[in-house]
């Protein structure tokens, strides 16, 4: 089966006062139809810039997609005209952002924000678009949808706004939704509601989803496959089940060990990853994680390890991943 979306060697850079930042530094990954894939990593690892690059929303002139291919249904999105790209955004690929309040227009009604896309992308009449908007709000669990259409985003709570964002993303029956930290700004109980809703809708409508998050718990529950990013690169790729059971990169292992877990007995001390997150303007020559890595050897400072297969459908970018496996087993 051909991938729905295939990102190949994507490289996106930003010109900053501190020098050129390679926010996304040659990453490749894909999503199959109907699949949920996660991009996981901490702030500045390039996960959000990856999504913005797919949508070609990287802020120019400071930001630039330097090279690579983004094949959506076999078409390279980077080669489309701006006009053609507008037919992809919102129509083929929907997007959900972390902060619904800043991504909704405060002076347009909920109804207008939903119908606008339907009228433009789907050439619906205002009457049909309205009917579809009511249907969409009902689908994402907003009570009394017909009355809600006349309201403004500030009338909605945070959870309701995120439901509204999901409705907007789904409006034109996209094949893919990019969800960038969709529940990070929400309360725990609301987070659970929204994630269950997204999972349910994705399954029911057969929409593929890219979830961008720093929360390892969310990934475990909702993703089929996972890409772990660090300093602009993918350092490990595997199915969710495989990644959590057999992490093959010291960073993934460190992340999993550093979080306290409710299902395990309480530990006397947490095991943090030592050191500071990388400064993207001054990355070390070799592996970007090496200054913080407990498996570091001389070679790590000299050359960045490539992403290589360590098992079927499991890749890791670490020179010492054999030693890591042994240490894990011990």
């Amino acid at each position: 089966m051909a991938a729905l979306l295939e990102v190949k060697n994507l490289r996106t850079t930003f010109q900053t006062s501190g020098g050129v930042v390679r926010a996304v530094d040659g990453v490749s990954w894909d999503i199959q139809e109907g699949e949920t894939v996660a991009l996981v990593g901490e702030s500045g690892c390039g996960k959000s810039v990856s999504a913005l690059s797919i949508m070609r929303l990287v802020a120019e002139p400071a930001g630039r997609i330097e090279s690579g291919e983004i094949l959506y249904k076999g078409r390279d999105l980077l080669k489309l005209s701006e006009e053609q790209m507008r037919g992809v955004r919102g129509r083929e690929i929907g997007m959900i952002f972390q902060e619904p309040m800043t991504s909704l227009n405060p002076v347009l009604t909920i109804g207008r924000q939903l119908t606008e896309g339907l009228e433009i992308h789907m050439q619906m009449s205002p009457h049909d678009a309205r009917a579809r908007a009511v249907e969409l709000l009902g689908m994402v669990g907003i009570p009394d949808p017909a009355r809600r259409l006349a309201q403004y985003p500030h009338h909605f709570s945070g959870g309701m706004r995120q439901r509204m964002m999901i409705a907007m993303a789904l409006a034109c029956n996209p094949s893919l939704i990019l969800a960038d930290e969709p529940t990070t700004a929400l309360d725990v109980t609301i987070q659970a509601q929204i994630l269950e809703l997204m999972k349910d809708l994705a399954q029911r409508l057969g929409v593929a989803m890219l979830i961008i998050t720093h929360n390892l718990g969310v990934v475990a529950r909702y993703a089929d496959r996972v890409n772990v990013m660090y300093a602009g690169r993918i350092i490990e790729q595997a199915s969710a089940a495989e990644l959590y059971a057999n992490p093959r990169h010291p960073y993934t292992l460190g992340l999993l060990r550093s979080v306290p877990r409710l299902d395990e007995p309480r530990r006397a001390r947490l095991a943090p990853i030592e050191g500071q997150p990388p400064d993207l303007t001054r990355l070390p020559a070799g592996c970007a994680f090496s200054p913080r890595c407990s498996f570091r050897v001389e070679r790590c400072a000299e050359a960045a390890p490539p992403l290589i297969a360590v098992d079927a459908a499991h890749t890791s970018a670490c020179w010492e991943c054999e030693r890591l496996v042994k240490a894990e087993a011990a």
Binding site: V188, R221, L262
Partner: protein
């Protein structure tokens, strides 16, 4: 158990909502509505709940950053309300705060050294420039930074390093109580554990007492000895860590715990979850009876009529639920 360091008795904080159009009153937000708990010396008390539950306002009332509407706050044996502004300043030195976002709580135009020197100067904690510099160096080392960090500005540090400065600033006052208001939630996952370990080390070394306000239940379980769960301005459950996490009595606590996703796909695939319906009601118009009843999976008729009192269900385990 050791002596009581802080006691909060029936704390109430209501905020009048800005007089609306033509002087109409906008009503009252019942941010904190009758909260009582005590904190023993050397203990960590976790205070959890979702946004708007009143956990931060409770912290701010203890720090006297908000004037409580009613209720008592007794710290080191004295009722804070009976003190003059001047006496308060001295007492308040012993209670410090660490905020969520170290970036917005550090002055961007001051070096780390200047930031740490200020409280030392204001409270005349040491005399002379040399002694002050020595103290700053000591504080920086204590929180895992280097003496040369004193010359840096906040923007030159990473988020985790800035939070270390926030902790050093609190320590500068030689406090007995530190109120940690979401101290790790703005930090990256790999850095959170560093800061939590640091807080624990400092506690055992300096005999500190923490009120740890957070929404992350896994972090609260790790760091707390006892835990208070709040919902819409009220305490719904208080217990020792182990009892609260292993045998929660309040349906809200149970729902909170079940909402936390666990980083293990195999476990998550089979785990039963209670997803609460509805949203958190506005503290402007809290529901009658039990404030949780509109979202409660087991609510009965009397839950919407009678307010459940916080009662001791097991020794040391308190819950505010008719059905517990």
């Amino acid at each position: 158990m050791s002596e009581v360091l802080l006691e909060v008795r029936d704390l109430v904080k209501h905020f009048p909502v800005g007089a609306g159009f033509l002087g109409r009153s906008g009503g009252t937000v019942r941010a904190v509505d009758g909260v009582s708990f005590s904190l023993h010396r050397g203990e960590t008390l976790g205070l959890v709940g979702e946004s708007g539950c009143g956990k931060t306002t409770t912290g701010r009332c203890i720090l006297q950053l908000e004037q409580p509407t009613s209720g008592q706050i007794v710290f080191e044996g004295t009722d804070l309300a009976t003190h003059s502004e001047k006496q308060l300043r001295d007492l308040r030195r012993h209670m410090q705060v660490i905020f969520q976002d170290p970036y917005s709580s550090l002055n961007p135009r001051m070096t780390i050294g200047e930031i740490l020197a200020e409280p030392i100067k204001v409270h005349r904690l040491v005399s002379g420039k040399a002694a002050r510099e020595k103290r700053i160096e000591e504080l920086l080392t204590q929180v895992g930074l280097l003496p040369q960090h004193a010359q840096r500005y906040p923007h030159q540090l990473s988020g985790g390093q800035r939070q270390r400065v926030g902790i050093a600033r609190a320590l500068a006052m030689e406090p007995s109580l530190i109120i940690c208001d979401e101290p790790v939630s703005a930090l990256d996952v790999s850095i959170q554990a560093q800061i939590i370990n640091l807080l624990e080390e400092l506690q055992s070394r300096l005999g500190l007492t923490y009120l740890f306000i957070a929404h992350d239940l896994s972090v609260v379980r790790h760091i707390s000895d006892r835990v208070v769960v709040m919902y819409l301005g009220k305490i719904v459950e208080v217990a020792d860590r182990q009892a609260l996490y292993e045998a929660p009595v309040h349906p809200y606590t149970r729902a909170l715990l079940s909402a936390v996703p666990i980083p293990d796909p195999k476990l998550e695939a089979t785990r039963e979850r209670t997803v609460l319906r509805g949203e958190i009601p506005s503290a402007l118009t809290p529901p009658g009876g039990c404030v949780f009843h509109p979202r409660c999976p087991i609510a009965e008729a009397r839950c919407s009529a009678e307010i459940p009192l916080l009662r001791e269900i097991q020794p040391g385990h308190w819950g505010a639920c008719h059905l517990a």
